[in-house]
Amino acid sequence: MRTERFMAIRSMLMLLGVLATLLCGALVGIGSGGAKADTAPTASFDAAIENYRSLLVADVDRSVASVERLRDSVASGDLATARQAWIEARVGWERAEVFTSGFAPELDRDIDAWPNGPTGFHAIEVTLFGAGQSNVSSQVEALLRDLREMAARARQTKLTPQGLLDGLSRLAYEVGESKLDGGESRISGTSLDDIRHNVEGIEQAYTTIFAAAIEKRDPNLCGTLRHQIDELKSMLAPSDLRQIDQDRLRIASEDLVVMFQTAAPEIALARPTLELQ
């Protein structure tokens, strides 16, 4: 009896959801003459986005704290601790990429410049892990300044669902990029950690912001997305980059992008773009 009532309520909710979506679509159509995503009503995502924001801020803050430790250990010439702090600082940073790459691209470039750059994670990586030296104080100061600015942006920037879905899709695509040459953080040997934390960031953003809304519209689609993210995680479980089946990873990454693109209209968003232009 209770189940039936639950099912009935759920059906009604789903129907309402469909109507609301249709209505949203119609309004968008009238208002802007196209499915411009950021003009779609975002009310249904507001609470979810604020939940995500608190997780995002925590990630960037953790990265800032690690870079503070990096600064201190560099100052005292403690190379081992400095390296550890660098590795830890990457965790929150890579998890936050759904946000950083699209909402603060210039800052993102300074922090994560590659292959070189006057400052940023990889300039410090070359000295700490490559040359085995800790004379990177000025670069660490600059990184700290940029990361603190990023933390402020994470708190203040208006986060749109479209921008976040774009960020998710771009990151899903990036996960499938070839790491055969050793990957982005090859000097420290942590390229695999980077990808793993990217996928954690994808999972966090998807679960917090979009999962409920998609589930409401299409439980199967939501299940597929969850399954695909889980699959990516298990593919990345080995501890050595050499053990990763990069072909399967690439296919899984592209399948996930396709599925985000499929989900977009279900939640009244435009098909996510794969490059911020």
């Binding site: 994560d112 410049a113 292959p115 070359v126 050793g182 990957g183 090859r186 000097i187 089946d245 794969l274």
Partner: protein, 479 residues
């Protein structure tokens, strides 16, 4: 995984002895499938020109040839570490030619050779001896039976299967794929050589030295009049006799062709010689030919004339890349209506890899080595990524049995490939790694990182620019 050419050419071309002789694709770090210091020559700016027999006669490549080309460039044809490292037949035989820079520590004794029975790629074929062989060019292979440096396999089909299954631990290829690989290889022509007529004799444009060399080439050896250079390298027969001989290099090896040899260094089965004059010296010594210095110079001039070819190298760029991808994509015109999932998978996989590789030629915003043209670069990246996903949709639709949808998606690609794709990529080309200046800046930064990290590949015992590569006349013309 198909971009690798003669980096030395790029260096000599632009006068940039940037990295000494060790110019290479930075395959580095401690977590790469192939040993640190491996050089696949992936960042080369020139690739060997590929001349197809079918096209040269005014026709077009058949479905089989394109399918073979696809399989040839797919790591999935191989197995084990080669596949995991993203290597394909095309890694060593770039555009069906060779790869004079390829070097795998432990498997090569010098750039351009490779131990096909070493421990790395298939333990079952490992023979406990470091006996690398030169990577041969496949140009004109249909005229060059038997196959293998020792000529132990009569049929090209058997030889290809052996390379795939035994040397590189691949799964047994389907008969259709083997047929396609053979069709592809047999369609690769020698480069045209205007120095030779149809009987393999020098034409009127030859120099005096080359003519004297031709005479020496045909002259009986003084100590054994039954022998001459031309006795084995028969000019009218593609400069081969289809037989094995012991010429003092450590065993019986088949007579290699001399056609296009200018671009096939290093020489001999193990690649022991960098230059043709060293080859001449070897024969002079081994057969006691008593050649004068003038004779040796003349004979070398003749070999260079015989080994020449028109337009040996293709400049890397948007046009060449798109043509290759389009050629690969043509197999879908038959495979989708035929519901041939295996071929659709193969095509999508290889094309997707090529498109992703092409995307990385357009640096994104994080790369400080190039600052201009950001909008154009990002537009190029965007359309390439969208195309990757388009092909993924084709594969997904086909796998789900929705072949009409797959065909519709493929039609979208065809439209894109006519105008939008070439246009958007061409607009960004000057700020891409296809521009030598950008290429230099980007790789110099990478190399500087690796230098600081002490992770440069160990110095390779390679000549900075083998003679054959310097002799690449059309390159100079392009410059």
């Amino acid at each position: 995984m198909t971009r690798r050419v003669v980096f030395a050419v790029a260096i000599s071309l632009f006068g940039l002895p940037l990295f000494g002789s060790a110019g290479a694709f930075p395959l580095s770090g401690d977590q790469t499938v192939l040993p640190p210091g491996t050089e696949l020559n992936e960042d080369a700016m020139y690739r060997p020109t590929e001349v197809f027999h079918s096209e040269a006669r005014g026709g077009f490549k058949s479905y089989q040839v394109d399918l073979g080309d696809l399989a040839f460039n797919s790591p999935n044809l191989l197995g084990g570490p080669a596949r995991r490292a993203g290597m394909s037949c095309g890694t060593c035989h770039v555009n069906g030619a060779g790869n004079a820079r390829l070097y795998v520590p432990g498997m090569s004794t010098r750039p351009g050779n490779f131990d096909t029975t070493g421990p790395l790629f298939n333990p079952k074929a490992h023979n406990g001896v470091l006996d690398p062989v030169r990577i041969p060019s496949l140009r004109g292979a249909r005229f060059l039976a038997p196959y293998g440096h020792d000529g132990r396999i009569a049929s090209l089909r058997d030889f290809v299967r052996n390379v795939v299954v035994n040397e590189f631990a691949g799964d047994e290829p389907s008969p259709a794929i083997l047929d396609a690989l053979v069709a592809y290889i047999e369609d690769i022509d020698f480069l045209q050589n205007t120095s030779l007529d149809s009987r393999g004799h020098l034409t009127t444009q030859a120099s005096e030295a080359e003519r004297r060399g031709e005479a020496i080439f045909a002259r009986p050896f003084s100590h054994d009049p039954t022998m001459s250079c031309a006795g084995c390298h028969i000019p009218s027969e593609g400069f081969v006799d289809h037989k094995q001989h012991n010429v003092g290099s450590g065993g019986l090896f088949k007579t290699p062709t001399l056609l296009n040899a200018d671009f096939n260094a290093p020489y001999f089965h193990d690649g022991r010689f960098d230059r043709l004059d060293q080859v001449v010296e070897h024969f002079d010594r081994t057969y006691d030919l008593a050649l004068t210095p003038q004779d040796r110079a003349d004979l070398t001039a003749y070999l260079v004339a015989v080994g020449d070819g028109l337009l040996p190298l293709d400049r890397e760029g948007v046009t060449a890349r798109i043509k290759e991808i389009n050629d690969f994509a043509t197999v879908l015109e038959i495979a989708i209506p035929a519901h041939d999932i295996a071929v659709i998978d193969l095509a999508v996989d290889t094309i997707g890899r090529e498109l992703r590789d092409l995307t990385e030629q357009f640096p994104d915003r994080r790369d400080p080595t190039v600052t201009d043209g950001l909008r154009e670069r990002l537009a190029a990246r965007a359309i390439l990524k969208d195309t990757v996903i388009l092909f993924r949709r084709i594969d997904a639709a086909a796998r789900a049995g929705r072949f009409d949808e797959a065909a519709a998606q493929f039609a979208i690609y065809r439209k894109l490939s006519f105008v939008a794709l070439p246009q958007v990529l061409s607009n960004a080309q000057q700020w891409s790694l296809f521009n030598p200046r950008v290429h230099r800046a980007h790789y110099a930064a990478l190399w500087e990182n690796l230098r600081q990290a002490g992770k440069l590949p160990r110095t390779l015992a390679a000549p900075a620019a083998p003679m054959a590569e310097n002799a690449a006349k059309p390159v100079a013309a392009e410059h």
